[in-house]
Symmetry: C2
Subunit: 401 residues, 2 copies
């Protein structure tokens, strides 16, 4: 049987990560390829208690159809948290609860992207965003990431010459690079966007997972009417309930509500109420501190192991938050080749190529440190180090091909 | 601030129902406008027990990221249910868990509809489908519903002349009309689709809510490689968790998986496991019988009240399942005008206009019987009857305008 699919389906990259994860899920593989939070830190008992309280205490209201925007007490909590953490004044009416922050990207794509619309994105950029936006058939424009954030000179010319509908970025502990935009970079980027017609999509999935350094102002603080901000409970509570949110100016929110309604009516109200109850009954700050302490330790462990085992020519970021390191091989070496060689030794890395919409990135790779014990980090990085030494002695891609 | 939105947003109807429901939620209003299941029938205690068992027994696995396709034991249950209820052989690999069956429609739109693609739909058609598909900018083609199902002559010419990508229908207890396609009509429709290049989207949200009459074969039984079928736990357990599924041939499923991943990665795994546990521990047949007994009684109550209070010129369907009656005023009378007059008496109906993609339907309305007590049904229909008598005496629209 021959099927005719929409043309967008031919333009959406198959998820390389998805394919990789199937291979790397074998228990004998030490995997740094995925992006899972550490499940040992999930507040299982407290969520069980919150769920019990909600279902028995709130009964059928927790199980009936609900509003598209989401559970008001939860949206109020998010608005209050923005005030406390970032000093931002946000109304609960500017917040809508989504199925994880991935759905924010789908809704933003629906609302802003026509086939052929230009979308600017960091290079390397978050793969989930590339996939979500690709379904709306944009033309991607790339803004290289420096260690300080998006390159302001390139951003300026991309925005003034290309006039993209949106610029998507992850200012805090970016996925995949781990880079946090500096304060100076934020100010420059804000000025460039302010002069343009482009909307900033500020993905803040990792903002609460900061190990060290000052709290940075949100880009939305500089650009309140030009920023759509996304957030997530996946990294600070648990991802399985798929609870995130989008924060947008009223006029944009009105369109997002229409899109959300056509897409799935509303997000799971039982889980919204469980999260809301959990936040009311327990200290989220205490819980986040436990997570950041653990992840900072795991990052340090991985950096120490890399320092001991990797060839000195391999460079690596030292992120101040989040769940990932970003490593770069010397020119001419391929992380895809490394992936294959490492997998033979039962270690998995994530090659960087899928994070580039315009090709390139062959020498880069992402290493996840949040989901492995100290022992597995040391053992995995040691194995990877010896694969790297061997690979770099046997020659560059150019010589192989 | 002037924003530029995607052109699809201008083509998506604002939800009239959504606007109406805001007005009709006042407690003094007896509303037949919504589409809520009866919350008194939600298995609250049992779901509380299932949730407790899942979170404490399965722990972090119930809270971590999960597969895009959904929880395998739940997909196996759905496949087995298709076998028992409809005699269909379906593999769990042909099933993907969605955020309610509304999300099936979004994913089907993503996979099949390019801007300008033709989409055939029953007339009147399900509003949620019209909204979901409209976001993909199709050209709608209408197939009038007779009391037996879609008009085969029109369907034949629409499919042969228009060659639509999909034909969307609700064969069991359709929303809004309450009509169930007859066996003879199903056979004729299947033959017409078999000869065409069109994919049937068979929305089976109400198939389990059948009060009387023989079980009809699924359209998918006739057209296994040309049907995408959707299902829902909203009507047989509870809607708030947003749990539905889509069943499609492998080659189509592969595209749906790609679309689902870009859209929101996967559906809420905690709720999937709660539903799966509930289905394993309790008799769903017994629970469904309690619902259908109650709804059949509520339908009978509404029909009896209509028979007593409505002018004889108003006709009405007598559905064999589902949650809705469909009533038609004599030519020249407007259900929108009736809506306004009835609301002044604190009764709400749903005018039929939004269910027509090509205009028309002014004289039709939908009445929900699943979410009101006998007393409120009698009282509401009595008030509506006197508004109707008064309206029909004061004259037709043509005379008013």
């Amino acid at each position: 049987m021959q099927y005719t699919f929409a043309s967008r389906m031919g333009k959406t990259p198959r998820s390389f990560i998805r394919e990789i994860l199937k291979v790397t899920e074998r228990p004998e593989v030490i995997s740094f390829a995925g992006g899972l939070p550490n499940p040992a830190l999930f507040p299982v008992e407290r969520l069980a208690e919150s769920a019990r309280a909600v279902i028995t205490g709130e009964g059928s209201a927790a199980l009936q159809y609900a509003t598209t925007e989401g559970y008001l007490p939860l949206r109020e909590w998010i608005a209050e948290r923005y005030k406390i953490r970032l000093g931002m004044d946000v109304s609960p009416d500017e917040i809508l609860i989504t199925n994880g922050s991935q759905q924010c990207l789908d809704l933003i794509g629906k609302v802003f992207i026509d086939p052929g619309s230009r979308v600017a994105i960091e290079r390397p950029g978050y793969l989930g965003a590339i996939q979500a936006f690709s379904l709306y058939e944009p033309e991607f424009m790339n803004v290289p990431l420096t260690s300080e954030g998006p390159d302001p000179t390139v951003l300026n010319s991309v925005l003034s010459e290309g006039n993209p509908r949106i610029f998507y970025g992850v200012p805090n502990s970016q996925n995949p690079s781990g880079i946090t935009w500096s304060l100076e970079n934020r100010c420059r980027v804000a000025k460039i966007i302010q002069r343009s017609e482009t909307i900033l999509v500020e993905d803040d999935a990792y903002g609460e997972l900061r190990f060290c350094g000052d709290q940075m102002p949100a880009m939305r603080s500089f650009l309140p009417d030009k920023t759509v901000m996304t957030g997530s409970f996946s990294k600070i509570i648990a991802p399985g309930m798929r609870m995130g949110w989008v924060c947008a100016p009223y006029e944009i929110m009105e369109q997002i509500v229409t899109a959300k309604q056509g897409t799935d009516l509303h997000s799971n109200i039982l889980s919204q109420r469980i999260i809301s109850r959990f936040l009311a009954d327990y200290s989220i700050d205490e819980h986040i501190r436990a997570i950041t302490d653990a992840y900072a330790h795991q990052r340090d462990c991985m950096l120490a192991a890399i320092n001991e085992h990797f060839p000195k020519e391999v460079t690596c970021t030292s992120p101040d938050g989040g769940m990932f390191l970003w490593a770069t091989l010397p020119d001419g070496f391929s992380s895809t080749e490394l992936f294959n060689r490492a997998l033979a030794e039962n270690v998995a890395i994530l090659p960087g190529v899928p994070f580039y919409t315009d090709g390139g990135g062959e020498s880069t790779m992402r290493l996840n440190f949040s989901n492995a014990s100290d022992e597995r980090i040391w053992e995995g990085i040691a194995r990877l180090g010896s694969v790297l030494h061997q690979y770099m002695q046997t020659g560059r891609i150019a010589e192989n091909n």
